[in-house]
Amino acid sequence: MGELQDCVSALCIRHRVLFDRNDTSLPWSLMELPLLDRIEQPGSFVTLATMQSTHEEHASFCGVKRGNQPLRMPGPGEQYRFHFDMTKCIGCKCCVVACNEQNGNPPDIFWRRVGEIEGGVYPETRRHYLSIGCNHCLEPTCMKGCPVDAYSKDGVTGIVRHSADACIGCQYCTWNCSYGVPQFNPERGVVGKCDMCYGRLQDGENPACVMACPEDAIQIEIVRMDAWQQEYREHANSPGMPSPDDSISTTRITLPQLADCGLNRVDRGHLQLENPHWPLIFMTVLTQLSVGAFNAIGWMQAFAGHADRVASLVALVIALCALSASTLHLGRPLYAMRALKMWRRSWLSREVLLFTLFAATATLYSACLWAPMSGTTILGSIASLVGLSGVGASARLYLAPGRPAWNSPFTIFEFFSTTALLGAAIASLLAHGTTGIWLVTACAACSLGVFCTKLAWLARSPSHQLYGAWQLLSTTLSNKVLLRIGLLFVGLWLFNVEQAFPARAGALLLMLAGEFMGRYLFFVSVVPTNIASSFLMQEAA
């Protein structure tokens, strides 16, 4: 044992020496020869960590472990990346278990996953596997969306790192990454992801997946970033992988010959409902209700000269409830206010900021109405406009590349049509009589139109994710779709035929229920992009 430890520490020391590129007295001769053989390959990449080994090495373990050879630091304009050689992978999933052990993760969280793709006709069948950790993208979408700046792209290595301390568990990154890389760990309340075993690389050790692979199918390489911008489409694309365009994945994938012979993911039949995110359903619908209400109150004050202060109080309470509810979505609600931090970059931050401002101005406005004070009309307009901007930011943040069914103008239309419908109904309710009925009807028609057009769009899409959403909506969720439409119709009908306030308030609640149902469908029916998985749906442990 002592000998082994000596050997290991000797290796560590040696690698630390080699890792220091400023040291000109480097004992270069110590570097393993296979590495030098491969150092200048055609193209922009240089394979550095290699397990190429010979019989002689096998026969005598001359001190260097396979998969443990020195790695130089990336120079300016370069970064580390994974190379995955599909021709070598046998789908054994050693990398998955090794990654889990390396990071001490629970058994239901895989930072590296192995997917399966298949094509051809028996016996010329083609079966291949994809082992993917994080792609350490040139333009990481996880990082761009993060409201708390928990992500950073390491200046030297290009590794996309995530700080569990900074993370508040909003899970926005899990929507933004098209590869499903960041994963929420409910046990911790924060997200985690592959960091290419940053700590190991620092010590001159290969990442756990690279070390574990019995087939030498995963390696760390150095890539020149500018060259990669030009050629990534050729090397980062693969059957079973989402397009690298969203974020410019840096993982280089060596595909087998005949990879274009109809290789397809084997998990196409997997369609499962996504997390409904109940706090977010409440938050989005109720903020839209509140913004609609304040618009109704404000506009009626501006044009009819009458502001309903009771209504404003109710709308304010709803807004505050909605915003409080939203923090329950977070893994770490205590740190919700951190979400304001990245308002220059993240739509989530902007949403939080605008709704906070909305809550503040709406509070001020209501207070003034109750005071009573003059000049409240302008305050009402400000609250209304800030609220509408909040709804806009709210909708915009769902345009996440990893969620194609959300990533369309329909999301914007849906969020605003909810706001308009509920706002118009409240205005009509406050105005008594049949005033504004036409507007409510028009908004309802609009809302229904958006919903149905979106369904048609999904149903006709060739994309697995969009058509998959249609499949869910037209099968598992079909009753709920009918309920959503039914609630809208019944609510509208009741609103039209009844004059009494309680009945019309009831009708409004029916329409609100319809919007809740619509939002529920919005959340659960989305089919995220992801790398291919294995054939059987994985059960949570």
Binding site: M1, R66, I90, Y122, R127
Partner: protein, 734 residues
């Protein structure tokens, strides 16, 4: 307090940062701190027979991590996913902790004394009433060799029954029979190094990418090889092949005979080797006269030219390697198929030198150990029951009367089950195996176990489907909790060490055997002065001395320092322990005249052909995440999550006819039983008319369907083919 903790967690104040902290460990390097160990214990993996060297990291009396031993010559630091998660077996739920005795319909915890007293008394009373051979013992391939040696002696000389066999008969008894017939003795002649040094590698019915992934790494490091894979299913291994031969199910023997015929016809065989070192050439040639290439092409479904190409590839190779596993063994023609493989090697003289080997890749971690030392299908040290010389030699070493050694073997495993049904076997002792999942046509087995007067199950886990039926459950230590040696497929003896104590009152099998011997009153005679496995090892070394499987030059110390030693390693050998050894390099075989036997073989169709009622051929096999009956791996969350349940592979053309889609739940029905609610996978992995079902899952047990058909020589079941039909699920989910 509980609420305060919950609130700290739910509010996000506490993210369990301490539990998820990383740190630098002198052995593991930068890793999660919860994996860091204080001490490291060298051992050998307890799953399959590849025999990977491992290190178990122990902290505070728990095994917190494992890693491949980078200095081990077999795996060089690599492990498969099961090995990488092997430490979880030790603390898995469902470990057996206390001896349990069935009283009325419930298990009652009893002391070891009471348990073993009861066992001895019940077995003795059954033997008094029905004769000594009314007791049967079914063991395993997963104990250490010291335990197999002890158990063999205990059963044959202490309990006094010959009816002793292992689950190895479900696995590699065919290879044993084949080797014995061809070479005069069991023992795979090659080494893993052959995978690196062969120029042509045939894998027949061997899906090593799924079942022995670490061998793939040895194979892949051979850049100059041509890999030929023979398998009816496009396995992960088939995808690695340079030449893939998609034979029809169980037509391997036809392919081999066609290749032999071509080699003889084209004079590609090694005349000199055949003349000097083999007998039976004329008989073989005569039998090959009946082999028509076109007929064999029809049987195998291969293009005749492809067969010719394969034959020439093999015969013209400098060092061809043929590896096989269960595709060959699990067959009523298994032994003959192994003989045909051996014929190829003998005819061309491609045996005993680097790269050239007909090589049975074994299943369990120490199936080899029980073959060498076990006293089941032969006397310890590959001695033969039938040989008076062997018996005399053994009796002399043991200082016992020669008459106490049986002159023929007892019942093989499947025959013991039949005997239990007919009432000849009344008491059964099952160790380290789970036949309720692994035995073919399981209803027959259930009937047999029902019929017993007393059933003892000794296992590391309880409840398992088998322990649930026991009258007495003896809790045993498992891998990581006991000491001894394993022999892997390449005859490498590696050391196994205890890292922690077994849970509860569980004991190592070795200690259980000694304690039972005490109760049976034969401990002093059979195991005089023994207290640790090392005592058994020393005696076993003497017993093996001079035999093919000679251990006499080994010691626990040299096994530890060398990363395992391949036998034969006689005392006084001038070779370094780590030398790669092969058998029969000198052309002298273990037969009386030193010549290997060429054996004429004849293909015949598998017993249960598809028909109108059962139109599909069912193939069974494994997946990389699971091990055999899932007693261990089913309790390991990460493996279970990666492979949560069984599936049935079916060709798209067949699925279309039956109007079935992927993910439909289907029932698979044979003449013997029904498997309910398997998830269908419509895939080109299997050909038309074939379906594939993994056998690990008791919930959808493939052995409800398989038949009671056995190889007449090795008694190995024909697990690989039977006729089934597939229906949309009947509605009852199990």
């Amino acid at each position: 307090m509980k609420f305060a903790n919950w609130l700290r967690r739910r509010s996000g104040f506490d993210t369990r940062a301490a539990e998820y902290r990383y740190g630098r460990d002198p052995v593991l390097g930068f890793t999660a701190e919860r994996k860091h160990a204080d001490t490291w214990v060298n051992s050998t993996c307890g799953y399959c027979s590849v025999g990977c060297g491992m290190q178990l990291g122990v902290r505070d009396g728990r095994v917190v991590s494992v890693r491949g031993n980078p200095d081990h010559p077999v795996n060089r630091g690599k492990l498969c996913p099961k090995g990488l998660a092997e430490h979880y077996t030790i603390e898995a739920e469902g470990r057996a902790r206390y001896p349990l005795l069935r009283r009325k319909d419930a298990f009652v915890r009893v002391s070891w004394d009471e348990a073993l007293d009861t066992m001895a008394a019940r077995f003795r009373s059954i033997q008094t009433r029905y004769g000594p051979e009314s007791i049967g013992v079914i063991s395993t391939g997963q104990l250490v060799t010291e335990e197999f040696y002890t158990l063999g002696k205990l059963v044959q000389l202490g309990l006094g029954t010959r009816n002793y066999d292992g689950n190895t008969t479900l696995c590699m008894s065919t290879a044993v029979s084949g080797y014995k017939r061809s070479f005069g003795s069991d023992g795979p002649p090659g080494a893993y190094e052959d995978l690196e040094r062969a120029d042509v590698i045939f894998l027949i019915g061997a899906n090593i990418a799924e079942n022995h992934p670490i061998l793939c790494s040895r194979l892949e490091s051979n850049p100059g090889k041509t890999l030929v894979v023979v398998d009816p299913r496009v396995t992960k291994t088939a995808m690695m092949a340079d030449l893939y031969l998609p034979v029809k199910p169980r037509s391997d023997l036809a392919l081999l005979n066609a290749m032999l015929r071509i080699i003889v016809d084209e004079q590609l065989y090694d005349r000199d080797f055949v003349e000097k070192h083999t007998s039976g050439f004329d008989d073989l040639c005569q039998s090959l006269q009946e082999i028509e290439l076109d007929a064999m092409a029809r049987i195998t479904g291969l293009d005749p030219e492809l067969i010719v190409r394969a034959a020439r590839l093999y015969a013209n190779a400098r060092a061809p390697f043929i590896g096989w596993t269960m595709g060959v063994n699990h067959s009523t023609k298994g032994t003959e198929t192994v003989n045909a493989i051996n014929n190829l090697a003998l005819l061309t003289g491609k045996i005993g030198h680097a790269g050239a080997s007909p090589f049975s890749i074994t299943g369990q971690c120490n199936a080899m150990g029980t073959r060498e030392a076990g006293f089941a299908s032969g006397l310890p040290g590959y001695r033969k029951f039938e040989s008076a010389v062997d018996r005399a030699e053994l009796a002399q070493i043991w200082q016992i009367a020669e008459e106490r050694l049986p002159t023929s073997r007892g019942l093989a495993y499947p025959d013991m089950i039949e005997a239990a049904i007919s009432g000849k076997i009344r008491g059964l002792w099952i160790l380290g195996t789970n036949p309720l999942v692994s035995f073919p046509n399981v209803d027959v087995l259930k009937q047999a176990l029902d019929n017993l007067d007393f059933l003892v199950v000794q296992d590391g886990f309880h409840p398992t489907p088998t322990t649930e039926l026991a009258d007495l459950v003896l809790p045993a230590a498992i891998w990581g909790e006991k000491e001894g040696t394993y022999t892997n497929s390449e005859r490498r003896v590696s050391k196994v060490n205890a890292a922690v104590d077994p849970p509860g009152e569980a004991r190592s099998d070795f200690q259980i055997f000694l304690a039972l011997a005490e109760k049976l009153g034969c401990r002093d005679e059979l195991f005089h002065g023994w207290s640790t496995p090392a005592d058994a090892f020393e005696e076993w070394k003497r017993v093996s001395a001079g035999r093919l499987c000679d251990y006499s030059g080994m010691s626990y110390e040299s096994l530890e320092t060398s990363g395992g030693i391949q036998w034969p390693f006689p005392a006084g050998s001038s070779e370094a322990p780590s030398t790669v050894r092969r058998l029969y390099g000198d052309g002298v075989f273990a037969t009386p005249d030193g010549r290997a036997q060429l054996i004429a073989t004849q293909w015949s169709p598998f017993p249960e052909q598809p028909n109108a009622e059962f139109p599909f051929i069912l193939n069974t096999g494994r997946t990389v995440e699971h091990w055999h009956t899932r007693t261990k791996t089913g309790a390991i969350s990460i493996l279970q999550r990666m492979s949560p349940r069984a599936w049935l592979e079916m060709n798209p053309a067949d699925a279309q006819k039956l109007k079935l889609n992927s993910h439909d739940r289907v029932d698979v029905v044979s003449a013997r039983g029904r498997v309910i609610g398997v998830e269908l996978r419509v895939t080109e992995i299997v050909g038309q008319g074939q379906v594939f079902l993994p056998f690990h899952f008791v919930e959808t047990n493939a052995n409800q369907l398989t038949q009671s058909a056995y190889d007449p020589i090795s008694r190995e079941p024909n697990f690989k083919q039977c006729a089934v039909r597939v229906e949309k699920q009947s509605g009852v989910n199990v």
